[in-house]
Amino acid sequence: MKLSNKFLIIALLFAGITACDFFDPDIIEDPNNSSLDGVLNNASKAQLQNLVTGLEIRHRAATGSINIMSSFGREIYPTFASDPRFINQWIGQDPSADAESDPSFFGSGGTYTTPYRAIKQANVLMQSAQNTEVITSAERSGILGFAKTIQAYQYLIPLNAQFDNGIRFDVADVTDLGPFLSYDDALQQIRNLLDEGLTDLNSAGNSFVFTLTGGMDEFNTPATMADLNRAIAARAAIYAEDWDAAVTAAEAAAPFFELTASADAMNKGGYFVYGDPPDIFNPFFYTRNTTSIQLPTVHPELIADTLAGDERVDNKFFLRDTPVVLQGLTANYQDNRFGTTGAPFPFFRNEELVLIYAEALAQRNQGTDLAEAVDAINVVRNTWGLGDFISVSQSAIIDEVLFQRRYSLWLEGGHRWIDMRRYDRLDELPLDGGKIYSKIARPLSEL
């Protein structure tokens, strides 16, 4: 072969490969996921809708805080046989277990890390809504109002778990996080956020530019979302012991807020919805009588304290054929609330709002407040087959509110633990060979 032929071959070889960006290929984009940068500027309506659903998905993860807080408040036994730490640490049977000082406390991420992920998602949604021109200013206000309302709900979770450790409120920039605020300051910020959200919703027109899942059917317009906003504001107000504001907020939450003695009225509210894959199952659905000891079980004191005729007992507690026995704890009942893996899980029901209203009135104790509080309590009692409660004693009425909250809100958000702490009654909770914590230590990642 001649020299020139050889060069020709080589030249052809190189010409062939240079033709297709061989020496300078394009940047490779993530082939599996859309990019964050792609929505932060000039997001389309479809992208905003995805972020809204994304916020609902992150919001739904709030169920991850329930088992631990409900164990602290002795609503349940965490009878999960796969790991002895559920009982050792959560019930506190292990002498060295201490949620208040252990920055890596077992299984506490759901009370901190998870809600802050929802808060992050809400921030990204708001930033994207601010930096796009495809929506009107009313539509933008709708997004901001929804995002702030959900964000406030989520802020309350770490605040309740961290309690007087305080929490960070300004968390928009990972490289420049805001300071830790005291419990009172953080709570005030959350209530301000709700008020801002309400202002946004009030200027959001008649409909949203996005669609919410079926679990939000009660709140799928700016006006009804404002009701949810006020319901959450009422919850925050009783935490702040701002009773007047709690009454006002509850009333402002009407028509969602409704003093009607019916199961439908009580169960009206916001729900997390579930489905078959690619959706997920309701994490609180358990086969009745399952032999796999991987479930929360009803604390025996709840069963012992039930009132005759209370329909909530049968609705919520299932008597197992064989008791669950684990690490010295015995429970006869498991959760009976959900019939299928796809059953929705409530994150805020009118029943709670009615009891918030009762508590706030009883605490405010002006004019006819006590009588109205008793009426509100009886709306709940009558719904579940109990006769009227009669009292003129402020303390007895408050006790009754707490008693009703214990059954009405069982395993819906760790309410019992928060209530007992609010009223300084943690020492009344049963020890079960362990200890009662008042808060969870600030996580290791924050130290």
């Binding site: 490969i17 996921n33 964050l36 972020l51 994304g54 796969s82 890390t113 796999s292 990642s445």
Partner: protein, 1000 residues
């Protein structure tokens, strides 16, 4: 490492023809006999060549040669593989016949062996400035019958720590070169290159963990894909252990490079070779299980109803003679091994070929486990003309592994060993006459049912193609300009099936009984490379400098698609997803990567006295945060052959070569680590995207290793004693770690360049040929290596990683500590955060191999491998203690009120379960008999050229105090640091194999 003289026979004849050029006018003849200096045997196929005239010849069957030379004086170069090259001056006048008998000295130290040092160049070992280990086929496959290629490396490469992760058939081996080179972001495994093709050595997981409740795919016990390669096709491997040698491979070489060359045909008569191996697997070690009696049952189950029923069960088992050692039953199977290889090779002076087909099948020591590999290869080499050569390397393989269910599980009992840990000897778990297994009252699954009814099947089809072109573009008096272009592809498709039928105990109690996971992955790697090199000589005589300059470009591309789908709630007996009540897509992902490189290298050789090389490589990769940035990786080395200097005058010392080398390599971030992603999710029929919990650092750099290597190679006494000593300092900078940011940001981790670490080590290789005569040739080799690692800088807070958390033993990442440090509860104040219990890195490793050739017909060899130190987290013992079944559970402890098993649980978690994993293993023994040619001729005439029979064994003996099946184990598979945790693994097996090989 030594030559196989008989193999070169045919080569000789053709070589002779090639050089049988026409005679010129004034010429004379040189002839003589060439023999082995030690044995006196005539040597066949030795080349005698005169560079000046281009004339040459090769010795015939009697060791005789004859070559015709132009009158005058010239230098004859006499070469033969495995012998030291000799240059002898001859002179003669026209018509004269000169007799020149030559005695060849064996190249015991392999000084003439060619070793790769550049992307288009190689040098003689005697001129090498790095410590590069080369292993030939003889040491890989001709003494034993290895399961996988990497398995055959064990004990043969100083500086390399090789750990078999379980005893499951089909491999699963981690190869760590010169200590830790990544903390998990980059590849912990070396880059494998077969005939120029960058091959995929991924551990492809199959989602077994989904069905067993184990924590992650790392616990799937999948093997690395080198298992697809038939070791019998391999001619040699070269191991570039550290950056100083591997710098020519740039950004993918932090964990070292293994260059694999497959066999090629030789011109001459077509040669057919058939080999058949038959053997068996059996458990290397069984531990035994604790016995039970009424007292022990009462201690564990109490005096209540449970205790009563257990005692009744025990008494009934005793009276019926049904006390059963389930360990023996489950792990006591004998697995058959069969391997067949057929190869046909040959060709002419223009074209040679090597065609081979192989089959290996083996059954494991657990019923229904096994491994099968079918492979075929065609290697072609063609010379277009005297200047251009092309070659093609094509291979196809199909492997099928059943690796069973071992290791970790949660809540499902989906691990045989885990379930066994809780089963007392009086349990009755056998199937009834209908084949139905009773529920296991002691755990969530009956392991006998799991073995017989569950499926874990993985198949891989793989095609590897390499093409190479070598062309001399310009040849003239001043030098040679040549082009070497090569490229190839490695395409594999993987299919995995894991199936738990509906009637299994754990499935029956699930809401949706029956669980199936299908995994499909296809991966294609392509690479192409072109190098221009210019070789020239300047100066003459003592001042002669050989220069070789290379310039090149290479590109690598990878594309991968992976789908994992799962079905739960199955139609009985069905495994197709459509038969499932719940059908879910677990994973559907795509991976796309490219690398680009430009490189240059200059080699300078001053008369074989001083040999220097320097070069560098500019690399860019789409895996980097900045995909367009080129990173520079330099290298330089120099070696001094003191024996070649005039001042050095010793017949005793054959080589004395101090050497020094420096190089840098890179480690790339994992795919996806540099993307800021929105993760999709579904809720209530809506599709959402949410912010990933992983954020990115836009300034992320690739990991960079720098290595300085010093060495001394010496050989004395006719090369019969040689020593290779190396000391290296390897630092790895910009190690990528996930920084755990405050989670109130909504972000959990950001990958950052957060640490530097240093490895220092010593490697010694002593090769001796103590006896070499006609009746006995004994070669012996002692290897020793040690490495120490330390994190020298950590820019993020110290943290604990791996294992199952500090309560059961974990690893510490902290400045001033080795990343292999094992810690555990209780926590302490101070830099270690927790109590330090050990270190998974061994103090040192040594191996001792010997080969004896007796009466030229018997070959006997053995290889001992000693690993001293290095700790494991032995959670198998923890589990059997919990179940009361540990082999020593009943024995007395220091505390008179507790047995050993109780004492460990009460007083020794985790300290008693972190233990020394030293071992001494007799890894290989082989004995072969080569039937003498005269006998073959008598029996078969000319039909058969050679017959070899023999027997060999792998993993023959193990001496260890370690309290489980094998100190070599890893429940998390291939890991940079989290690699010494044991959870009820597949026990190791001993393999005994009988061999027959016939050459036609």
């Amino acid at each position: 490492m030594k030559t196989k003289r008989y193999l070169t026979l045919i080569y000789t004849v053709l070589f002779g023809l090639l050089f049988a050029v026409q005679s010129s006018l004034a010429q004379y003849t040189v002839s003589g006999l060439i023999t082995d200096a030690e044995t006196g045997d005539a040597l066949i196929g030795v080349t005698v060549f005169d560079q000046a005239s281009g004339n040459g010849a090769a010795t015939n069957l009697d060791g005789m040669y004859s070559v015709t030379l132009p009158s005058g004086t010239t230098t004859l170069r006499i070469t033969s593989v495995g012998y030291l090259t000799q240059n002898i001056e001859v002179s003669g006048s026209n018509g004269e016949t000169v007799t020149l008998d030559v005695q060849m000295k064996s190249d015991v130290a392999n000084l003439d062996e060619l070793v790769v040092t550049g992307l288009a160049s190689s040098v003689k070992r005697s001129n090498l400035a790095n410590s590069i280990t080369k292993i030939d086929a003889e040491d890989l496959t001709e003494r034993v019958s290895p399961q996988t290629l990497d398995g055959a490396f064990q004990g043969k490469i100083p500086g390399v720590s090789i750990r078999s992760q379980s005893g499951a058939p089909g491999g699963g081996i981690s190869v760590q070169m010169r200590g830790v080179s990544t903390l998990g972001a980059g590849s912990s495994q070396p880059l494998y290159i077969i005939d120029g093709v960058y091959v995929n050595n991924d551990v492809i997981t199959n989602g077994r963990f989904l069905t067993t409740g184990a924590n992650s795919s790392q616990e799937d016990n999948s093997s690395n894909r080198l298992a697809d390669i038939n070791p019998d096709e391999i001619a040699s491997i070269e191991v570039l252990k550290g950056p100083s040698a591997a710098a020519i491979y740039g950004q993918r070489a932090n964990a070292g490079v293994v260059i694999i060359t497959t066999k090629r045909g030789k011109s001459g008569e077509t040669k057919v070779s058939f080999s058949q191996d038959v053997g068996f697997n059996s458990a290397l070690k069984l531990l035994g299980v604790a016995s039970w009696d009424e007292d022990k049952i009462r201690t564990i189950y109490g005096n209540g109803a449970t205790g009563d029923s257990q005692v009744a069960a025990y008494n009934s088992a005793v009276s019926n003679g049904n006390i059963i050692n389930y360990e023996d039953e489950v792990y006591g199977e004998t697995g058959m091994i069969s391997e067949t290889n057929i190869s046909i090779s040959g060709g002419n002076e223009k074209t040679t070929f090597y065609l081979t087909g192989g089959f290996r099948g083996e059954d494991g020591i657990i019923k229904k486990t096994g491994f099968e590999r079918n492979s075929a290869r065609l290697n072609l080499d063609h010379r277009i003309n005297s200047d251009i050569r092309v070659s093609s390397r094509s291979s196809y393989s199909f492997t099928d592994s059943q690796r069973g269910f071992t290791g970790n599980q949660n809540g499902t009992g989906g691990s045989i060993g885990y379930a066994l840990s809780f089963i007392p000897t009086y349990a009755q778990l056998h199937a009834n006459d209908n084949g139905e297994y009773p529920d296991n009252p002691y755990f969530s699954e009956n392991p006998l049912s799991l073995i017989n009814n569950a499926t874990n099947d993985q198949t891989v089809q793989r095609f590897i193609q390499g093409i190479q072109l070598n062309a001399d573009l310009i040849k003239n008096n001043t030098g040679v300009l040549s082009l070497k272009a090569d490229g190839g592809l490695d395409y594999l498709t993987y299919n995995g099936l894991v199936h738990m039928p509906t009637f299994l105990q754990a499935q029956k109690s699930s809401a949706n009984p029956g669980d199936v996971v299908h995994t499909a992955e296809d991966n294609i790697n392509t690479n192409i490379q072109a190098v221009l090199s210019y070789a020239t000589t300047v100066g003459t005589g003592d001042n002669e400098l050989n220069l070789n300059t290379q310039l090149g470009f290479s590109r690598f591309d990878q594309q991968q698609n992976r789908q994992v789908v799962r079905g739960q709630g199955l139609v009985s007996g069905e495994t197709a997803i459509a038969n499932a009540n719940i059908q879910s897509v677990i994973t559907q992902t795509k991976l796309e990567v490219y690398d680009l490189s430009w490189f240059a290298q200059q080699e300078v050789n001053w008369d074989d006295k001083v040999i220097g090389t320097f070069g560098g490589r500019f690399d860019r990769s789409s895996l980097n945060a900045d995909q367009e940035e080129y990173y520079f990786f330099p290298k330089a080395s120099v070696a001094f052959n003191l024996t070649n200097f005039d001042f050095f005058n010793s017949d005793f010392v054959n080589q004395l070569k101090p050497r020094i080398a420096y190089g840098e390599t890179g480690g790339l971030p994992n795919f996806g680590q540099t993307f800021s992603a929105l993760i999709p999710g579904n809720q209530g029929g809506f599709l959402g995207t949410f912010v990933s919990t992983r954020d990115i650092d836009p300034n992320l750099q690739p990991e960079r290793a720098q290595e300085l290597e010093f060495g001394l190679d010496a050989s004395v006494y006719d090369n019969r004693v040689s020593l290779e000593a190396t000391y290296y300092i390897k630092t790895v900078e910009d190690l990528i770690l996930d920084e755990r940011v405050p989670t109130s940001s909504g972000i959990s981790v950001i990958a950052r360049n957060a640490a530097n670490l240093e490895n220092k080590g010593i490697e010694l290789a002593l090769n001796i040929n103590p006896i070499r005569n006609q009746n006995l040739d004994w070669t012996s080799s002692i290897l020793y290596w040690t490495n120490e690692s330390e994190i020298t800088e950590l820019n993020i807070p110290a943290f604990v990683t791996g294992g199952f958390g500090a309560s059961l033993g974990s690893y510490l990442l902290q400045e001033g500590f080795s990343p292999t440090t094992i810690i555990g509860n209780p926590a302490v104040s101070g830099p270690s955060l927790f109590t330090v219990y050990g270190n998974s890195q061994p103090d040192f490793e040594m191996s001792f191999s010997n080969e004896f050739r007796i009466y030229k017909n018997f070959d006997f060899s053995f290889l001992w491998h000693w690993k001293k130190g290095g700790d494991n987290i032995n959670l198998s013992l923890f589990l059997t203690d919990l179940g009361g079944t540990s082999f020593d559970w009943n024995e007395e402890s220091d505390d008179p009120s507790l047995t050993k098993g109780q004492d460990r649980l009460v007083n020794g978690v985790p300290s008693d379960y972190i233990e020394d994993a030293s071992y001494l293993k007799l890894r290989e023994v082989g004995l072969y008999y080569t039937v003498p040619v005269t006998s073959i001729d008598r029996l078969f005439g000319n039909a058969v050229n050679g017959i070899k029979v023999g027997a060999s064994a792998n993993n023959v003996l193990m001496f260890t105090d370690y309290r489980s099946y094998d100190p070599e184990t890893s429940v998390f598979g291939t890991q940079a640091i989290n690699s010494s945790v044991e959870v009820t693994p597949f026990p190791s097996s001993r393999q005994v194999v009988f061999h027959l090989k016939i050459d036609f």
